[in-house]
């Protein structure tokens, strides 16, 4: 007796996605405008990777760190803005010191000063200091990486599909990236190198999802030459819905484990990824495909695609 699976998304379902496209467009437009607004009004809470400065994580003896008393130690330190917060557990404190005026050397002087103020009573778990030169380089490297990724993906999709698909995918992708930035601005989560890694992975994941639906759209375009596009798109989404949901769930399960159990340092990273998976799933279904309606897809037989189909059958 074989052991059967359980269909979370029943076969033959036909949810309406395409008819509600204007609603999705409105929602996404609001999301993007909101994200950009938050970015320009509140700005991002850049970590020391991009802003420069010092970050020191210490563990204090005893059950609970007296953060108020520690804060008082830094009152007349002349180090500028010093922020302290509990980190992960009550004994652990994260200390952030703003980037020091006076170039690279001043950072190291400040690190020594913080350690001198705190003394040997605490255990230093982590010391990070980034000077103005490196922080600027890291910032631009991050910007280039995200732009290069979007461009590379655009070229790839263009190469594999027609340009309309490439454009649809990149619109969906940019939507995901921008809204992730909006999320970071809204909650003032620390935006650092690992956030850039998260954004790039979100880009990869979102495009992955989009490609799967696009593949089905292309297949159906070939199969049903007469079917109205909106119906064909809606069918394609529904046919791949089970896969889309399944993969999103397994990815989210893994990410939830990482968020809850993976430690304090990668919490924000995991959160960004969780958001990215959800928004990436949404955008592939509700943005990338409906947008194709407006991009005048050529329904004539495409020679290169036929070739591919033959190759696919042969394997």
């Amino acid at each position: 007796m074989a052991w059967h699976g359980f269909n979370f998304i029943p076969a033959g379902i036909k949810y309406s996605f395409i008819p509600f496209r204007k609603l999705f467009f409105l929602f996404s437009a609001l999301l993007i405008v909101g994200s950009l607004g938050l970015y320009f009004v509140k700005g991002l809470n850049y970590g020391i990777d991009f802003k420069g400065g010092i970050l020191i994580e210490v563990r204090t003896a005893g059950d609970k760190a007296d953060i108020a008393a520690m804060r008082a130690l830094f009152k007349d330190s002349g180090l500028g803005e010093v922020a302290l917060q509990e980190f992960g557990r009550p004994t652990d404190v994260l200390i952030r010191v703003q980037r020091q005026e006076g170039g690279e050397k001043a950072q190291q002087v400040a690190v020594a000063k913080v350690k001198q103020i705190l003394g040997d009573k605490v255990t230093y778990r982590r010391t990070e200091s980034v000077g103005p030169k490196v922080s600027e380089e890291l910032f631009w490297d991050g910007v280039y990486a995200v732009l290069a990724a979007i461009l590379a993906i655009l070229i790839y999709i263009w190469f594999r599909f027609e340009w309309q698909f490439g454009l649809g995918a990149v619109i969906a992708l940019s939507h995901d990236v921008l809204s992730t930035i909006g999320l970071f601005a809204l909650f003032q989560l620390e935006f650092n190198l690992s956030t850039v890694a998260a954004v790039l992975t979100i880009a990869g994941y979102s495009i992955n999802d989009t490609v799967v639906v696009f593949d089905r759209v292309r297949e159906n375009l070939r199969k049903y030459k007469k079917m109205p596009l909106s119906e064909l798109f809606n069918n394609s989404i529904n046919e791949t819905l089970s896969r889309t949901v399944m993969t999103s769930v397994t990815t989210l399960l893994a990410l939830l484990a990482l968020y809850i159990l993976g430690g304090e340092i990668i919490k924000d990273f995991s959160l960004a990824m969780i958001w990215g998976v959800i928004i990436g799933t949404y955008s592939s279904i509700c943005l990338a495909v409906p947008i194709l309606l407006y991009l005048s897809i050529d329904r004539g037989a495409d020679v290169s695609d036929n070739k591919e189909e033959v190759a696919g059958e042969a394997t």
Binding site: A2, W3, G5, F6, N7, F8, A11, G12, E104, K105, Q108, V111, T123, R126, T127, E128, S129, G131, K133, V134, D141, A145, A152, I153, Y156, L193, S194, A197, L200, T201, G204, Y205, I207, N208, V211, V212, D215, T240, S242, R243, M246, T247, T250, T251, L252, L253, A254, L255, L256, A257, L258, I260, L261, G262, G263, I265, M273, E308, G312, T315
Partner: protein, 544 residues
């Protein structure tokens, strides 16, 4: 019957066996892994500094200082060359930009000066190990400009060569110093033109090591000025050939450092030292640093001390006086001791610096990331738990959603983990905290290929295909989608590797390895399992 080529079966088995072999050393202790015989894989995954604890330092060598010093030396050579050529009257001798300029008062002597200076250039401006460049790009130019000034310019090629040499020399000295502090397996390498990346695993006292690495430690011995005191010099004019320097420790009552007026001429310099050790003074029992000169240095030191008994000399370290003793008798043995206000530790550090030699230029830290051993261990533990729980959740979900076929996806998923660790050990790549996140993410995404195939099989079953043809069709139709989907993620991962730095690269590495191995396990291994099962059971309906 569904066909699965024999060579593919062999390939799958071989890859799995190698995966197990290469990942196995990670599941036993380090000692046991090292004790394994040579012919089995015994490489463990290299942990990044964020997991094993240690310091990552990015430092910049101030090469502009080196270039400036060399141009000043060149200016002195220009002066002596011009004099040697019999030209007595000149003006405007100086350094500007990458050039030394000089104006010969009598224009008739210009030709002569140009010739002599070109000869000087050919002799002194060399690159590499003293070769004279014979190919196209010149190392220097000597020209007479419109104002009648001779401009001796060193080209960028030469200054680049000077920079490279300075950075290489710095790396050597830093390596000597780090080795002396007893750090195990440090990495010290050049980055870009003027930067050095220093990675020190397991460092306990990062501030001390940073201080030791970053000190120029240029030591020179000078006589104090015989007639003018420091106080007089501070009030009035400093006599020619003399210089005021502060004491490293001692302060006067108003809090300013005590000053010395020293003669600029160097008696002996630290370059002539062959050894230096921390020790204790025999009478006072205070910590001191002893040193020994080479024969040239010993002779010089003996000569100067012999001629200047009764006078005071200063031991200068990085433009600060660390000790200023009176010469009681000629010091002829080539050895001596420095008794500053040392602690045991500072005496040790100074002796270390003197043994390792001085840096050619100042070193500035641009970036520091230090992780203590406690946090590293915590991160590993958290990463382990997150991976295991994430894995279990995905395994359960897949089993519920696809039944027996879920199992056919789950076994390869576990093999995928083994292959990732095997790949990391084989390369060997460094595992960082973001790298662990990459592995966990891979666990979630790796089943995607199977999900795509299974969903396709379900569809094919629904349109009435037989089990075998449904599986065939499911695989062949899903494969292009799988490749498209994975390649896009791989593009993002590779760009991340290209632009990312440090730990983030670790994320890109595990993500890339994970994508590659998951495609293999999900397509090949799952298929092998399904085909084997089909042959055995010959089912009429698929339990998808």
């Amino acid at each position: 019957m569904i066909y699965f080529a024999r060579w593919k079966v062999v390939l799958v088995c071989v890859v799995c066996v190698f995966g197990i072999a290469f990942s196995a050393p990670n599941f036993i202790s380090e000692e046991k892994a090292e004790a394994l015989p040579k012919w089995v894989p015994n490489q463990q995954v290299v942990l990044g500094l964020d997991l094993q604890g240690g310091s990552h330092l990015l430092a910049e060598v101030k090469v502009s200082d080196v270039i400036k010093a060399r141009l000043e030396a060149l200016r002195d050579s220009v002066r002596s060359t011009v004099r040697k050529a019999g030209i007595r009257r000149y003006s405007r001798l100086g350094v500007s930009g990458n050039s030394v300029t000089i104006k010969i008062t009598d224009p008739k002597q210009n030709e002569q000066a140009l010739k002599a200076l070109r000869e000087l250039g050919t002799q002194q401006i060399t690159i590499g190990d003293g070769q004279i460049a014979t190919d196209g790009d010149p190392l220097f130019t000597v020209e007479l400009n419109e104002q009648g000034v001779i401009v001796f310019t060193v080209t960028e090629r030469t200054t680049n060569d000077w920079s490279i040499k300075a950075v290489n020399q710095t790396i050597e000295v830093v390596r000597l110093r780090v080795d002396e502090t007893g750090v195990r397996e440090p990495t010290i390498q050049r980055q870009g033109t003027d930067r050095i990346l220093i990675q020190l695993p397991g460092v306990k006292d990062p501030e001390r090591i940073k201080a030791i690495i970053g000190k120029v430690a240029k030591m020179t011995f000078h006589l104090l000025h015989p007639r003018v005191s420091a106080e007089e010099a501070m009030r009035g004019r400093i006599p020619p050939g003399a210089k005021l320097l502060p004491d490293a420790e001692e302060k006067d009552p108003s809090g300013n450092p005590r000053m010395y007026l020293i003669q600029k001429k160097v008696m002996v310099s630290g370059e002539n030292l062959v050894d230096s050790q921390p020790s204790f003074d025999q009478r006072t029992n205070e910590p001191v640093v002893t040193f020994r000169f080479d024969s040239v240095g010993g002779r010089k030191f003996g000569n100067v001390t012999g001629k200047n008994v009764g006078r005071i000399f200063a031991i200068v370290l990085d433009n600060k006086v660390i000790s200023a003793p009176v010469i009681r008798e000629p010091i002829l043995g080539g050895t001596g001791q420095i008794s500053g206000n040392f602690t045991v530790e500072s005496a040790q550090d100074l002796a270390l610096l003197l043994r390792a030699g001085s840096l050619p230029a100042a070193l500035t830290y641009l970036e520091e990331r230090t992780v203590g051993p406690g946090l590293g261990a915590d991160s590993i533990a958290a990463g382990k738990i997150a991976s295991i729980i994430g894995m279990i959740l995905v395994l359960i979900f897949m089993a519920v959603a696809y039944g027996l076929f879920g199992l056919f996806a789950n076994i390869p998923l576990m093999f995928n983990m083994i292959l990732i660790f095997g790949g990391l050990s084989f390369l060997p790549a460094t595992l960082t905290l973001p790298g662990i996140a990459g592995i966990v993410l891979t666990i979630g995404m790796a089943v995607d290929a199977n999900v795509l195939i299974f969903e396709r099989i379900r569809e094919e079953v629904r349109v009435g295909r037989t089990p075998i043809s449904a599986i065939e069709a499911g695989y062949s139709r899903a494969i292009t989608t799988i490749i498209d989907a994975n390649l896009t993620t791989l593009i993002a991962a590779l760009l991340l590797y290209q632009f990312g730095s440090g730990p983030i690269r670790g994320f890109a590495v595990t993500l890339s390895i994970g994508i590659a191995t998951s495609m293999f396990t999900a397509i090949m291994l799952t298929r092998l399992l399904i085909v084997t099962w089909l042959r055995r059971k010959q089912p009429e309906i698929l339990p998808v």
